[in-house]
């Protein structure tokens, strides 16, 4: 399991943590989907995505996260997001995706929520 140009992967016990290193427009969203699909293939069920270095997200990336979160829950796991800038949280809220994907203020609280 490895990261990509825009994402790096870490572990905390059985939880995989993705650090997103770029703004998530349509181009980078493809990379995000690839990383998350790989984790699903590897039967990883608990994932945290850290957005501390992200200042923009579009609907393609939000849709990707929503879809993966639903699939992880079907296998008994979950996807949690942390460290979102207020503009990002607003995008999730406008779409209504914050009712599907859990958002936490810090990585610590996202991990503790599993």
């Amino acid at each position: 399991m490895s990261g990509t140009e825009f994402m790096t992967l870490r572990e905390n016990a059985d939880i995989k943590i993705i650090d997103v290193k770029t703004d998530l427009s349509s181009y980078a969203a493809t990379d995000l989907r690839k990383v998350l699909e790989n984790l699903l293939t590897e039967k990883v069920s608990k994932v945290v995505v850290n957005f501390s270095e992200v200042s923009h997200i579009n609907s393609t990336a939000v849709g990707t996260l929503v879809g993966i979160a639903k699939r992880l829950r079907q296998s008994g796991g979950d996807l949690k997001l942390c460290n979102l800038a207020s503009t990002l949280t607003r995008t999730f809220n406008l779409i209504g995706a914050s009712s599907v994907v859990e958002i936490y203020e810090s990585e610590k609280s996202a991990i503790a929520a599993f």
């Binding site: 427009s25 349509s26 579009n58 609907s59 939000v62 929503v66 995008t91 406008l94 779409i95």
Partner: protein, 144 residues
């Protein structure tokens, strides 16, 4: 300030949309939009251009055309595509209504048009003469 108009032709590849987003961000900053509003403008442009590339382009070289107009009261963005392989006039009024009706917060797609609707002060979707779609978004400037 005089009226100003910028025109850009961008390859139909999402790889290049980062540069477009950076340009509109800098222009909006120059026009003294608030940080929150700049984020809105960038997101709306990202959504319009992504749709034009994914649905309104037959190939990378077809390109999408951006016309950005500024006056004392507003910033207006018009993105024109030429129509996709099987999606000429992909955003017909019927298709637009269908996408809007089907959108669900728990769905993976269909959110881009909704965001444009939420964030732009005025938005228009029109079929154009070459079989594509013109999408217009207008953002009013704060009057000082």
């Amino acid at each position: 300030m005089e009226k100003a108009c910028f025109e850009l032709k961008v390859p139909s590849d999402v790889f290049y949309l980062e540069s477009v987003r950076a340009f509109i961000g800098k222009l909006s900053e120059t026009l003294r939009f608030s940080k929150k509003r700049i984020a809105d403008i960038q997101l709306v442009l990202d959504e319009i251009c992504s749709n034009a590339v994914y649905h309104g382009s037959k190939c990378v070289s077809c390109g999408i055309h951006l016309q950005i107009s500024v006056n004392t009261q507003a910033l207006e963005i018009v993105v024109s595509d030429k129509g996709g392989v099987n999606t000429h006039n992909w955003l017909s009024p019927e298709r637009l209504a269908e996408i809007q009706a089907k959108r669900s917060p728990t769905g993976e797609s269909g959110h881009g048009l909704y965001l444009i609707d939420c964030l732009a002060d005025i938005q228009k979707f029109q079929l154009n003469m070459v079989g594509g779609t013109d999408v217009t978004a207008i953002f009013y400037r704060d009057v000082e």
